[in-house]
């Protein structure tokens, strides 16, 4: 008895496995991503669980919103959207991407929250020759011939706001950020551009102060140093719960009257609700704001608000634009939209109309050449929201 049960179940497992394999190869015979009925398979990989699930859900909802407002079609073909969970990073993202690329055989991949996840999935994309139209994380990559991003490069927010800070702050600026790759890139973008236009940092050694990440939850000692430096303004980048801690403690600190400039993520989306009054008057730079005045944005925001509470974020917008990019590329890829044909078509798109304003892919980095906006946290009806107060530089190479 004790011997037969495992043996029988093993045989059963083997039979089931054989069945599953034969079914999946049978499906695979249709060719990558397209089926006889003319529908097309797109893979969306985003963090639906874990630390970044708020961002991941915005990315999924942004893409689905585009499909819902375009009859579920991209490039005139019915879309079969396969959603997979990226989890917290590459360890969970790679198996999920493997399933999308090798089992579901999608013609294009989109989404991906973390830069580390993109780096992990990158070899798979090269192996399967499927294009990625990413809508958030963008690490340093050697060859971007199949990689496209509708978001931004980490250096760009800081580079876009440097001139404005130089023109409007009378005195030196203190730069502070979290000690990891994203923080280094964001702050380097600002400090390089700021130095180029003749700005002076207030940091005692002339270099950005980096706080241990994610260990730092008490910013009081850093605020004391900022006070002692005599800085006329502060530039920073934090996201998630660190952004909430930073902003709440800043508002109660001795530098609460020193103007605070930041990359937009400091006050974007859910963290703004958690910060509440403490976030009032903070200036931030981002490539999108829900109150931008153009026809595409009015339609986008109205469609979003019909389905969700609150306004769309830059994450949802980037994913909505990824769908728009695929829509036009699949339409232009001809009667047989293979992954290769779609990838080639993305390179020929030129100007793309978007709720953020018109943008286009850079030919070298494959990320947007786009305009950045200066926003300030202000009262909007009953809630606080990021309100556009001006245009900043157009950034991208």
């Amino acid at each position: 008895m004790s011997l037969t049960t495992p043996r029988r179940s093993r045989a059963l497992t083997a039979t089931l496995l054989a069945l599953v394999l034969s079914v999946s190869t049978a499906c695979g015979d249709d060719g990558p991503g397209t089926s006889a009925s003319g529908s097309i398979k797109i893979g969306l990989l985003a963090s639906l669980s874990g630390t970044y699930q708020a961002v991941g859900k915005e990315i999924r909802d942004g893409f689905e919103l585009y499909l819902a407002t375009h009859d579920g079609k991209l490039g005139g073909r019915k879309v079969d959207l396969v959603v997979a969970d990226e989890g917290n990073g590459a360890a969970t993202a790679v198996p999920a991407a493997t399933k999308l690329l090798k089992q579901d055989r999608v013609v294009a991949l989109t989404g991906i929250v973390g830069g580390g996840s993109v780096a992990g999935v990158y070899p798979l994309l090269n192996e399967t020759k499927v294009p990625l139209v990413g809508s958030n994380g963008r690490p340093e990559l050697k060859d971007v011939s199949r990689i496209w991003h509708t978001s931004y490069l980490s250096e760009e927010p800081g580079a876009a706001i440097a001139q404005h800070v130089r023109d409007n702050v009378k005195g030196s600026v203190y730069a502070i950020g979290p000690d990891y790759q994203g923080g280094w890139d964001e702050l380097r973008g600002f400090t390089d551009a700021f130095a180029k236009v003749g700005g002076k940092l207030a940091n005692p050694d002339g270099k950005t102060t980096f706080t241990p990440f994610p260990a730092t939850t008490n910013f009081t000692p850093y605020f004391a140093r900022i006070k002692a430096s005599g800085a006329a303004a502060v530039y920073t980048f934090y996201a998630g719960s660190a952004a909430v801690d930073f902003v709440k403690q800043y508002a109660q600190s001795e530098i609460k009257d020193v103007p605070l400039y930041a990359a937009g993520f400091l006050t974007e989306g859910g963290v703004l609700n958690a910060q509440g009054e403490a976030a009032r008057d903070i200036y931030s730079v981002l490539n999108y704001s829900p109150d931008l005045d153009n026809a595409e944005n009015r339609a986008f925001v109205a469609a979003w608000k019909a389905k969700h509470d609150g306004s769309p974020t830059t994450y949802a917008l980037a994913s909505y634009d990824a769908a728009a990019v695929l829509d036009r590329a699949i339409g232009a890829a001809g009667s047989d939209p293979t992954p290769e044909a779609i990838n080639a078509a993305i390179g020929q798109l030129g100007q793309i109309a978007s709720p953020r304003g018109t943008w286009q892919f850079s030919t070298t980095t494959h990320s947007p050449v786009q305009k950045w906006y200066l926003r300030q946290v202000r009262q909007d009806g009953r809630a606080l929201s990021n309100t556009v107060v001006g245009d900043l530089a157009t950034v991208g190479r």
Binding site: A215, N218, P221, Q249, Q252, S253
Partner: protein
């Protein structure tokens, strides 16, 4: 600036030093339970951080910006963490006293399972804590702005520390505890069940951690890694302060607070490893910690 050059040099470090006291007292209230457990009942409780996290999550769930909610959260948090402590004592009953490896494995398992339960119940995001509206601002201390809640917290935590000291020194329960440190067998001979002392000590440790969790939630907030952070800090307190004395525990906790705030303000580039460098120095100079026994205080 009309300030003299001498004060000007100390001035920037005033607020970090004050904040170090707030942080240190929080670490003291949180860690004293662990020290108490280890020193008195000879139990190495690696689930101690979990007890703090229970208090933290209670605060996040119940606080709504009013005073009654603070009282309610404090009561619920202390009771829940104390109950968890008694539960731990029950689980530890079959384990021989002093068998630290088995205790560590058991309590560590409980900490992992409990941590997952908290995340399953309250979600993976760090919940926000709303302090009473009257304290949700800043006050001016010697010409500097400082968070009002933290200032009040310093007073409250100092009161808790004093009450703890008086309890250990002056009450019958405190005498039993001190007696148990000195000679557990003799206390057992006098007719006091070691199992009851153990349950009582773990409940008291839980109550202290729960109170620290509720009151300290705006400082070390509830989140997925709160339990680990608090356990780590508490273990550093044990290493620095030794097991025997309350003065040693207080001294070690205040030292940790100042290292984490004043130290970071003075030497920001060394911030990531300052705490452990200090620990290494203390161990190298004085292997038995900063002071000696609980009973001797």
């Amino acid at each position: 600036m009309v300030v003299a050059a001498g004060t000007n040099r100390i001035d920037p470090y005033l607020i970090p030093a004050l904040d170090g006291v707030a942080y240190g007292l929080l670490v003291f209230v949180a860690a004293s339970g662990l020290v108490f457990c280890f020193g008195v009942a000879n139990i190495l409780n690696l689930a101690h951080g979990l007890l703090y996290a229970i208090g933290g999550y209670t605060a996040a769930a119940l606080l709504d910006g009013g005073w009654p909610s603070l009282a309610l959260a404090l009561a619920v948090g202390v009771l829940a963490a104390a109950a968890a402590g008694v539960l731990l004592a029950g689980l530890l009953t079959p384990v021989a006293a002093g068998n630290h490896l088995t205790q560590a494995l058991l309590t560590f398992g409980v900490a992992l399972a409990g941590g997952s339960l908290l995340v399953a119940g309250f979600g993976p995001d760090d919940p926000q804590v709303q302090v009473p509206a009257a304290l949700d601002g800043s006050v001016v201390v010697a010409g500097h702005r400082y968070a009002a809640y933290r200032l009040v917290f310093i007073v409250v935590a100092a009161v808790i520390a004093a009450a703890l000291y008086l309890m250990v020194r002056r009450t019958r329960a405190g005498m039993l505890v001190r007696a148990a440190v000195d000679d557990a067998e003799m206390v057992a001979c006098l007719g006091v069940s070691p199992a009851r002392i153990r349950a009582g000590v773990l409940a008291a440790a839980g109550a202290l951690a729960g109170a620290a969790g509720v009151l300290g939630a705006p400082i070390i907030g509830p989140g997925t890694d709160t339990a680990d952070t608090v356990l780590l800090l508490s273990l550093v307190v044990v290493v620095l302060g030794g097991l025997g004395s309350m003065a040693g525990t207080l001294l070690a906790a205040l030292a940790i607070g100042e290292i984490q705030t004043l130290g970071v303000a003075l030497l920001p580039s060394a911030a990531p490893f300052l705490l452990f460098a200090a620990m290494a120095v203390v161990l190298a100079v004085r292997a038995r910690g900063l002071a000696t026994r609980w009973g001797a205080t």
